[in-house]
Symmetry: C2
């Protein structure tokens, strides 16, 4: 049987998973690739720590030239985290003639155009299924399986850490800080979970998916984003009362005016598939003009789901499919972006608003008045007798609006927050409509 020599750079969690699939389950790659993927080297700065896989003697090294200097190695799994030295290693691999499979989303989000340009110049390929949504093969699905479609919408729960935290808060009433600790204990969250919970990670993934799905070339930092780090359990309760769950949604949606693009905690009606995504799962709903709506649900992270995506890419690269895809798709090319990004302040949405107001007559009228001045009409109102954790003389006022424009919604709540009858800062979240 033919043999393709491969290597791994980065012997952390995912690298260990990749080594396990290659070494312990070589039979299945042989069956699916029609050839053996033969592991020649594993490179990591740490050659001492014991990992959960048994490498053959002499495979592990801290010397990258064991790969770059070996012309027989054709495919390399680049499973190094962070932006640098990940980027430099990636360039060295490409320049030494390797086709690379990477799981590094942050690096692609930051340096995708440079890396893809370089790979093209060198006649090499980059595959990156594992970089977005882990075990859900959304990259292949968008770039190959749905290629007959004009995609019109993509909505995803792309950060499993955030979803886990919000699920814990909603289902068990766990406070935010405790839910973060639990996520860390289970290995879902980093020691510093900032990039997960503030929406950065989801925005980076959305930038990659939006590029594939709509051709738009956007840096993740240009995507308006709100995380779940300020989420109040009270809003999860009120949302449930209204028949919704709150999910950190990444949205890319095409309209005549251009592409809507943002990441934010969003109310999703109970029973809709996106609302029912629990724990650290990811999910993506895609709409194409021919295929209609497709929904994917699976593990967005973790050692083996991510390794599954990496090894599938290694097989695709070894047999030649990746090379074809990479050439035909012209990813992050200099081709002009076919769509413009819509002005965030002009995007329409329904909104969930919560104010802490004084418990006296005329307050609702005042607030409704300000909303009306900003062309925002009220769909429903919840006002309870007393907030369980509020000040003694105030009550929470929850308003669901009809469709309004982001800029109007922002301006009106800012104005309402200044009313003497309103205490503290209001809460405002988008509501998923269609």
């Amino acid at each position: 049987m033919d043999k393709t020599r491969v290597a791994i750079v980065g012997f952390g969690t995912v690298g260990t998973g990749v080594a396990r699939l290659l070494l312990d389950h070589g039979d299945r790659t042989a069956r699916h690739a029609g050839r053996t993927l033969w592991l020649e080297a594993v490179v990591d700065v740490d050659t001492v720590r014991v990992r959960d896989v048994e490498l053959p003697q002499g495979l592990l090294t801290d010397d990258l030239t064991r790969i770059t200097g070996n012309p027989e190695i054709e495919v390399v799994a680049h499973v190094v985290g962070g932006v640098e030295p990940a980027r430099t290693i990636m360039l060295k691999l490409l320049e030494s003639g390797k086709n690379v499979v990477t799981s590094n989303k942050a690096m692609l989000a930051e340096h995708g155009p440079e890396l893809f340009d370089r790979a093209r110049e060198l006649g090499r390929s980059i595959a990156f299924e594992a970089a977005v949504a882990g075990g859900i093969p959304i990259i292949a699905n968008i770039s190959q399986c749905l290629s007959a479609n004009q995609l019109t919408s993509l909505r995803g729960i792309l950060n499993g850490t955030s979803n886990f935290i919000v699920s814990q808060m909603e289902e068990h009433g766990t406070p935010y800080a405790k839910a973060v600790k639990e996520a860390q204990r289970r290995g879902y969250a980093e020691l510093d979970p900032t990039l997960d919970v503030d929406g950065t990670d989801a925005a980076q993934k959305l930038a990659i998916l939006a590029h594939l799905a709509f051709g738009v070339r956007v840096h993740w930092s240009q995507i308006p984003r709100v995380g779940i780090d300020k989420l109040d359990p009270a809003d999860l309760r009120y949302a449930r009362e209204l028949g919704y769950r709150i999910k950190l949604l990444a949205v890319a949606k095409l309209a005549d005016e251009g592409l809507e693009l943002h990441v934010s905690p969003t109310l999703v009606r109970v029973g809709r598939p996106l609302a029912e995504v629990r724990e650290a799962y990811n999910a993506i709903s895609v709409v194409g003009d021919a295929v209609g709506q497709l929904f994917y649900h699976g593990l967005g992270a973790g050692q083996m789901p991510t390794a599954s995506a990496v090894v599938a890419d290694m097989i695709d690269t070894a047999v030649g499919r990746t090379g074809i895809t990479f050439k035909t798709l012209e990813l992050w090319s200099n081709r002009e972006s076919p769509v413009t990004i819509r002005d965030f302040s002009k995007l329409p949405s329904r909104y969930y608003l919560r104010f802490t107001v004084e418990d006296r007559p005329g307050v609702l009228a005042q607030i409704a008045g300000v909303l009306g001045e900003h062309h925002i009409s009220i769909a429903s109102v919840i006002q309870h007798e007393h907030a369980p954790d509020g000040e003694a003389n105030t009550v929470p006022l929850v308003i669901m609006t009809h469709s309004a424009v982001e800029g109007d919604a922002a301006a009106s709540t800012k104005e309402i927050d200044r009313l003497p009858c309103v205490h503290g800062k209001s809460v405002r979240m988008r509501v998923l409509v269609d």
Copy 2:
């Protein structure tokens, strides 16, 4: 830009959809394939009927040699229904040097091995994403995206017609015959819906998926199957009372003893993604040892979802990806089947049982006694005062069992049906456990 000349055989609903995507949206195939798919000919016996697409003058013909005799045509969409003459046309296309994309599941289920052998001999490829689950790209997902996994389970709602009918019955209390009529009116069901509602269609699709996922070579007629054509609305009501919905499930599940394989109406707990599939949607849940559980949901049939899958395959074939996949996967090859199919009578399952029994003391004891003799233990019982549509002196007795063996369950209900206190024939359905 490079041009790949293509053709369509079969100008029915799907063929019209394929022509629309190629003619009206040539820009996107150009963008995703890096080349134009240039429609050279459309062949159908009926060249007169008006279709919902405008073909350029002279493209439509009833002469297949316009394709087989034109060496410039490389890729052909074979969107002809039925087994013959579909098979003969397929062979002619392959023998004239064409790579073929087909949506014809019945033909593949019947003649897959012959057609794939012939294509291999001739150095041609066959792609068939559209043959199973329409718009859900399950073929590519199993054969490429999940190639690093040993799949352990595949469960699907693969027949949209049945799902539509059962959803109508459950949600609106529509009688079976009326639900079938409604499915026909909406174009979901054929004039003769037998193959959809008796489980044949789902078994044919399951045979294809089980071959891809587990390598097993099985003719669909060997798969034990029960349809929804005998489903009683009463059982939908009792299932709901117990917290379940009834779905026509196709199941392939790997165990040490071999592969479990069957199609049957199955109770699925409310809230599980498979239970929440409504209307004519399809859904598939796949478990792989590395990736964990993946869930896909989308339109399983219809003009444009199916055409979307056909055109994606045409693009893959034109750029060369299909050729690689076809060669490496050795579909329906003479390679030995790596797993055996488990004896159906020895499969374990929980069961839903319903008996119509005389309303007098001792009856439950008698029935429980027979079950006990067959090693079947009872998990829960519902007995109402009177069946709304039953005989005056009888009551329905609904029993949920713990896990039992199919053969025991069948033997015990047969024996119970012969008891003098039991009227008519019992109902027995599987319950999805894990």
